[in-house]
């Protein structure tokens, strides 16, 4: 058996990784430009957004078919999306500049961006920031440098001890908050490890992303920039199940952080869908629930309005049957195969469940074996405020 222990830090908790951030003036007084550097050349795997208008940084990685790298340049406040060929030229110029200025040899450097869509990068300002880079191990700074409307840094690290005594570490940072309905990965996530992964990294990453980042939704909007990178130096131990479990814990923690820090969100709700006709239908229903404005506002109002849950399931386009469906707020059953259990007492109990910061809503379709858990949050006045005022 393997053993997974949480450790401090994130990126630089893994041997040979450096990371930091600088204030280049895009945020009032916070880090907005950062980097991840590895002494060792890393194998890299990635999952990107399914949005057809992929941002320039994603196009750049795909066009250059980058499989190994030792450097990531990260910026926030500008997504470099919808910027066409010029957006890609800007990346080239900035990475060339970084190669000249950074005090180490950079191999296939990558850029990753988040922020407003449809605005060219301010290269001069960014270059002044890049000139300030120093070789540091400062996880907080790099984690802050990718934040947009996030209210706190999202980072995590584990040390895994394998049965044979060998060890590896995994560390990651992420950012989220809005435009979160990842159809591939979250807005931005960077995972580093020294595990000597011998299996298909891309497959492993994709599989774990599916039940972590791809299971969350803040607002149903799939970003142009969603990216999840996995870098490995391959210098340490490896065992498939142990690594997958560590990766799962890592991504799930960050995915939960993103939902909990969802713009204006106060509650993390797990929608446990089971008994669906297929896994795909369970996923579709889970996503429909976590995206429904009426469900989200009921959660904000702490109102166990199960009718809205039923209505959303019915509208999902998936197979469902009123006489087979069951709906519970945790262990409080409110609807059971055509029977409504919703007197004042049960309503009060269900409302009590909803007062918690985190709770589960369980929907059993009673049709088949399909199951999926999706994660969503409430929709508050604050979400509207943040997004009405985003650019101003």
């Amino acid at each position: 058996m393997f053993k997974i222990i949480p450790i401090n830090g994130s990126i630089t908790a893994v041997d040979g990784f450096y990371a930091s951030g600088v204030k280049s003036g895009f945020k009032k007084d916070d880090y907005d430009l950062g980097y991840i550097y590895s002494e060792n050349l890393c194998d890299v795997a990635y999952t990107f957004t399914t949005n057809k208008f992929q941002a320039a940084p994603i196009k750049y990685v795909l066009a250059n078919n980058i499989k190994q790298t030792n450097f990531l340049l990260l910026n926030s406040k500008n997504a470099n999306a919808m910027t066409g060929k010029k957006g890609i030229e800007d990346i080239k110029e900035l990475l060339e500049f970084t190669k000249e200025k950074f005090n180490k040899e950079l191999i296939n450097p990558i850029m990753s961006s988040t922020g407003v869509i449809g605005v060219r990068l301010d290269k001069e300002k960014l270059k002044k920031g890049i000139e300030k880079f120093e070789l540091e191990k400062d996880d907080k700074k790099v984690a802050r440098s990718i934040m947009t409307t996030d209210s706190y840094e999202k980072e995590i690290a584990f040390e895994v001890t394998l049965e044979n005594g060998e060890k590896f570490r995994i560390g990651a940072i992420a950012k989220g908050a809005g435009m979160i309905n990842p159809a591939m990965a979250t807005m931005l996530c960077f995972v580093v490890t020294d595990a000597n992964i011998t299996d298909d990294k891309q497959e492993l990453l994709k599989e774990v992303v599916e039940t972590s980042f791809n299971a969350i939704s803040v607002d149903g909007d799939t970003s142009t920039n969603d990216s999840c990178f996995l870098l490995t130096t391959k210098k340490a131990g490896y065992e498939k199940e142990a690594f997958k479990e560590a990766l799962r814990l890592t991504l799930q923690k960050l995915a939960f952080d993103i939902v909990k820090d969802g713009e204006g969100a106060n509650k993390l709700v797990a929608f446990d869908i089971k008994g669906a006709k297929t896994k795909e239908e369970a996923q579709k229903i889970g996503k429909a629930l976590s995206n429904s404005l009426l469900v989200k506002t009921a959660i904000f109002g702490e109102d166990p309005n199960w009718g809205r849950i039923a209505s959303t399931i019915g509208a999902s386009g998936c197979e469902c049957d009123e006489e087979k469906l069951k709906i519970s707020f945790e262990n409080i059953l409110v609807y059971d195969k055509g029977e409504i259990y919703f007197d004042k007492e049960i309503e009060a109990k269900a409302a009590k469940v909803m007062k918690k910061d985190e709770f589960r809503i369980i929907c059993d379709l009673g049709l088949g074996e399909g199951k999926f858990t999706s994660y969503g949050c409430d929709l508050s006045y604050e979400y509207v405020k943040i997004n009405a005022d985003y650019r101003t």
Copy 2:
């Protein structure tokens, strides 16, 4: 050529129709139970929600395959949805009761409901209300009796004069406000006419509903109760194009009213999608835009954040190409096939467009002939408030 003239009233503007409402105690001091009665037996056509959990009133009509009727019983505050077989029994009992108490012979009476999902009807209270029905022509009362979170009655009537001098009239009421993403018809709409429709009523209704009610969205949630009824006494003139045009004007006006009265909404926005690969894709993109929280909050903030529009198009799953797309706020072009036109001056002009109560956003995909116009509204604090507090 035919001539269409707006006239006062709605249901009772058509010869032989009576309608009214009573206060049966479900609302504090407003009409919550109403009826539409016709002296003449009417042919009836209807379109219903695509939500798989159709409410009991819809199941009742379908199960009884009702093709002719002279009476509709209408109630608000309770949708009679997710109430199973008991919900249908309740309808039977209430319609039998109405038959006994109403001062006219009722043939195949129909019930139609809107309100909270998942609660049995309070039959005793409803019966007391039914006992108060009097034969009246009061369009305001019946229009108010179907309102839930609507802030005003939605009604309209036209008189159409055909080329041969014959006439017919059409009148309608509707209710909307929330849970509006009709995949069949709006929440509730009742159209009456004396036109001697000789074409397929069902087909006509379906066709016109497609570009009116099915083109609007307040919150992307498709209700369990969406119903649009068309009743005709066939006592007057008819000409297909004239009738279709009158029906189109009728349903479009009511659809716009529903969006404008969308919960917490302040603006009516038309998304003109053209150049899409197919009409279906244009429709999908239009709907995606009118449902996007980020687009809706940008509209609320009067922020011409065209990047969110692009991102939503890219995430819609439809074919699109950054190098072919054009986006305009009315006549202000902000993005043209890879070129961004968004300096301070243009941004100010686009922002000015968004300050209007009604405006168009035009997206030309540049790929084909597919076009569709969808109608949406902004997402305000008020929407959240209304829906967080709905049941309390």
